[in-house]
């Protein structure tokens, strides 16, 4: 493991005993399926991008799967999720149909936001997905407001707010964290900050963007308790997710987790040269690939055999192949869609059609 954070081996996370969380075999197999499906989806996106089927920016989650899979496993009906542009897994894990998500990336009318947002703006409000956002840090105040509204409406739901290491240098982050801490004093801000620390913001490493590389500790300034978790180990993430989502739910106070993880794919699909990191570094992290770790665990504990794992991979491939086919065969959005959804209410469009 590279010492990315200046926090020592494993980024300051205590090494965990294998299998230290009593997670049932069935559940682990289900989570394995989720991780593999997300991975297959992202790989299909990369292919689609290379083929010119997907335009714009494309950011994939390859290497980070355990984080979203683990935390969203503790999602309860009525909870809300908000994240930045690396948002495909969040939508998929909340139950959005991969077909509609892929269709969005393909710019189709059957896309999850009708072909109007693309990869960076997946929404599935009915399922709690309050969006992917393209301005680094911009969604953080919004997520805090969502958490506040959940309490204002007297629910016991929480907001899972995902953010990157890079986003923590934005003023928006610091302003929002201050608000969350403040409103949390009265139990009015059930917001779980989940920092997806993948060590880089585009091509700039954490230690090249902030003097204080202990990102979790930054929340101290706002009276928000925090911890780190090994974001490559699904067991560790699950344990933290269960405990912390319940804690936030009960107290109405925000909490922050820094999940140490790594994006083994390039930042964006168009980045061909990765001058900012070495092949060796990527390879080292790949040794701790979350899917690899879980595979090993499943085999060693005999929760699943090779055959079972292959079967799961096959099913995931089939599901994603279908999604790609659906996207490819879907129609482009009708041109009238250009003018809708500008305003809510009657006077939707103010220009000349």
């Amino acid at each position: 493991m590279p010492e990315e954070n200046g926090n020592g081996e494993n980024g300051g996370v205590e090494a965990r005993e294998e299998g230290s969380v009593a997670t049932s075999a069935d559940r682990l197999v289900d989570l394995y399926r989720e991780m593999v499906t997300v991975r297959r989806f992202e790989e299909a996106c990369q292919r689609g991008f290379r083929q010119g089927k997907i335009g714009g920016y494309l950011h994939v989650y390859i290497g980070q799967e355990a984080v979203a899979v683990g935390f969203l496993d503790s999602f309860k009906e009525g909870d809300k999720v908000i994240t930045a542009y690396r948002d495909h897994p969040h939508a998929l894990l909340l139950g959005s149909d991969p077909k509609n998500v892929m269709a969005e990336l393909y710019g189709r009318g059957s896309g999850i936001v009708k072909g109007k947002g693309g990869s960076m703006h997946l929404f599935d409000v009915e399922r709690g997905m309050m969006g992917g956002y393209g301005i680094v840090g911009g969604h953080i105040p919004i997520g805090v407001g969502i958490a506040y509204a959940l309490k204002y409406h007297e629910t016991d739901n929480i907001c899972q707010l995902y953010l990157g290491d890079g986003a923590m240098s934005q003023g928006a982050f610091h302003e929002a964290a201050n608000l969350a801490g403040l409103w949390g004093k009265d139990g009015q801000c059930p917001c779980l900050f989940i920092v997806e620390n993948n060590q880089y913001g585009m091509g700039t490493s954490v230690e090249r963007t902030t003097a204080m590389t202990d990102l979790a500790a930054k929340f101290d300034a706002y009276g928000i308790e925090h911890e780190k978790v090994d974001g490559m180990d699904i067991d560790a993430v699950l344990e933290a997710a269960e405990r912390l989502t319940e804690q936030v739910r009960e107290t109405g106070k925000p909490y922050a987790v820094e999940a140490l993880t790594y994006r083994t794919a390039p930042h964006g699909a168009g980045d061909f040269f990765e001058k900012y990191r070495t092949k060796e570094e990527i390879e080292e992290w790949r040794q701790r690939d979350p899917i690899g770790i879980l595979e090993k665990k499943l085999l060693e504990s005999e929760a699943a055999d090779e055959e079972k794992l292959d079967e799961i991979k096959g099913e995931a491939k089939e599901q994603i192949d279908e999604a790609v086919k659906f996207a490819d065969e879907s129609e482009q959005p009708p041109i009238e869609e250009l003018y809708t959804d500008v305003y809510a209410g009657e006077d939707e469009y103010m220009g000349e059609e």
């Binding site: 009708k114 919004i142 509204a149 302003e175």
Partner: protein, 330 residues
């Protein structure tokens, strides 16, 4: 029934009216609660409504505006006070990149019923950083609604409409006029957006303005009538986005001459838009080119005489009207 009230009182009355009607309506902003509001718009409201409905925020325009966007997406109806609109540049990312576009890039899945209000424009010697007229700036962005009421009755009625609107509304108050009085209708006097108001009827020339320049135009109208025997129509746009093109066109079809007046800078301003609309839709009715009267192309100065010179004067507007009437300037 109508009563004489100040602009400030009318504005507060509208917000209270809507808070009574809907629990989702909350007020938030810097120093609006315990301190009473920098311009005393919300003075005393925290005593009646408590800190959950009247929320003091830290000095973080981007942060609390963004939080209000999140609340609005969840069905709350926050009314956010910008202590003055000058500080909204810090929140521009949330207003323009988020509030305005969310409905579109979510494919219509969310709406953002948010009102952002505060004093706009100059006239009280606040100098460069505290003096801006932002109608054209915010009016540029699809997804926002932008209004600039000038009478106490309109400020009440348009605030009521703003709170009920399912979209983000930029509510630009005539900051220099909080103490001015006017007749205000009792109860629910909701004033629709996108409808200009004929502030004075006339036949010979149309003056088109919004915000406190409307009052200036009304004074000019008196002068022109008394000194020059000219009958002046004054149109108060009230609403910048949506924009009431028809009202301008109808008036110009009658008067054949128009002067657009704005406190803001000339380049890329609302007055240019007015001129363009007239040439698009009433070109054949025009007897003279449309004139624009705007603020001086300088950051707002402090000294009283300089500040006065930086904004349109009665004389400038009257002479512009005389020019389109092919009369001698005075």
């Amino acid at each position: 029934m109508a009563e004489t009230k100040t602009y400030r009182e009318a504005l507060r009355e509208a917000m209270v009216h809507e808070m009574e009607r809907d629990e989702n309506v909350i007020l938030m902003g810097e120093d609006i609660g315990v301190y009473g509001g920098t311009h005393l718009i919300t003075d005393g409201l925290i005593d009646d409504w408590g800190p959950k409905r009247v929320m003091d925020t830290p000095i973080s325009e981007n942060g609390f505006t963004g939080a209000a966007v999140g609340m609005a997406m969840m069905g709350m109806r926050p009314i956010v006070e910008m202590m003055t609109w000058n500080f909204s540049f810090l929140a521009a990312d949330q207003i323009i990149q988020h509030a305005a576009k969310l409905r579109y890039f979510s494919g219509g899945q969310v709406q953002v019923p948010l009102v952002i209000r505060g004093p706009n424009g100059g006239g009280v010697q606040l100098s460069a950083q505290h003096t801006h007229s932002l109608e054209n700036f915010y009016g540029h962005f699809p997804g926002l609604k932008v209004v600039a009421p000038v009478t106490p009755n309109d400020v009440k009625g348009m605030m009521i409409t703003a709170v009920r609107d399912p979209n983000p509304v930029i509510f630009l108050e005539a900051g220099a006029l909080y103490g001015t009085k006017g007749e205000v209708e009792e109860g629910d006097n909701a004033v629709p957006f996108g409808k200009a108001r004929v502030a004075r009827e006339g036949d010979d020339v149309t003056l088109i303005a919004y915000g406190r320049q409307v009052n200036l135009c009304l004074r000019v109208a008196d002068t022109l009538e008394e000194e020059d025997g000219v009958s002046v129509e004054v149109i108060d746009l009230r609403s910048i986005r949506p924009f009431d093109e028809d009202a301008i066109v109808e008036s110009v079809e009658k008067t054949h001459r128009a002067v657009a007046v704005q406190e803001q800078w000339r380049w890329f301003g609302v007055a240019s838009e007015v001129a363009a609309i007239i040439q698009d839709r009433a070109f054949d009715y025009l007897d003279a080119p449309v004139e624009r009267v705007s603020g001086a192309e300088v950051p707002a100065p402090y000294a009283r005489n300089l500040e006065i010179a930086a904004f349109p004067s009665e004389k400038q507007v009257a002479n512009a009207a005389r020019r389109v009437l092919y009369m001698e300037e005075k």
